[in-house]
Amino acid sequence: MTEQTRVKKKSFLVISGPGMNLLGTRKTSIYGKGSLEDIHRGLQARAEELGVEVECRQFNSEGAIIDSLQSAPGRFDGVIINAGALAHYSYALRSAIGSMLLPCVEVFISNVHAREEFRHTSVIAPVCVGVIAGFGKKSYLLALDALANLGGA
């Protein structure tokens, strides 16, 4: 086996949930003006700096996110998820994350703790490695840093 095949780049799956396709067009005072495509471009650039790969997907459908998570093991080394509103009540998502046995980082664009009370609880946080919330679209970039560094410092 050559050195190159052994040090295959780490690959991470980035999932954005319902409504994230409309980023930049709705509630810009909360979510900012940039689009989801801007986030994906930012992630690709950061991935290149870090020497890893990212694949970015968006789904409005809860079931489609679960399908995507179920097929992640073996193809990806970790997952970044912005589950949007599903974070606060989807036990199905929680089970899917818990059973895939890949490190998962939960991100939010807004500071969910400064918003309505129903957003203060995340049912998926306990099955994630950690949570990053409140830093705008940069939350995604920090999550990628975090995943790439797992097992490091």
Partner: protein
């Protein structure tokens, strides 16, 4: 040069020496050294403060006003019940990022609530010592993020 205060709350002086299963084997001093190195890389200065006392933490945070461009705060257990700390952060009006070494949402229910989160820019938890590095990046690059316009 931008200047940031890194604040450690109660019992964090014992990092690396207690409950290493939860908090890891890193000492506070070694985490500070990492933060210092990252600050240097990013071209900012940092200072460090640790206190076990709630009042001392409130006083320090008040005094950051006009002196620091941001605060990286691991308030430890005070996170979950100190209204005084929350008011101190609000009064200081210095952008503050809340960090935790452990994923507080995997732990006891009383740790799932943060009194200070609503007055912070955001929260980072679960990444061990690296939570602090991410927190510093969040603080510094926050102002540079064109998406946040």
């Amino acid at each position: 040069m931008k200047h940031y205060a890194v604040v450690h709350g109660p019992n964090l002086n014992l990092l690396g020496k207690r409950e290493v299963g939860i908090y890891g084997g890193r000492t506070m001093e070694s985490i500070n050294a990492d933060v210092e190195a990252e600050a240097k890389r990013l071209g900012v200065s940092v200072e460090f403060y640790q206190s076990n006392g709630e009042g001392e933490l409130v006083t320090f945070i008040q005094q950051c006003r006009g002196r620091a461009d941001g605060i990286l705060l691991n308030a430890g257990a005070y996170t979950h019940y100190s209204v005084a700390l929350r008011d101190g952060i609000g009064a200081a009006a210095v952008p503050t990022v809340e960090v935790h070494i452990s994923n507080i949402y995997k732990r006891e229910a009383f740790r799932h609530v943060s009194m200070i989160a609503p007055v912070c820019l955001g929260q980072i938890c679960g990444f061990g010592a690296y939570s602090y590095i991410l927190g510093l990046r969040a603080l510094i690059e926050e102002r540079l993020d064109p998406w946040l316009a």
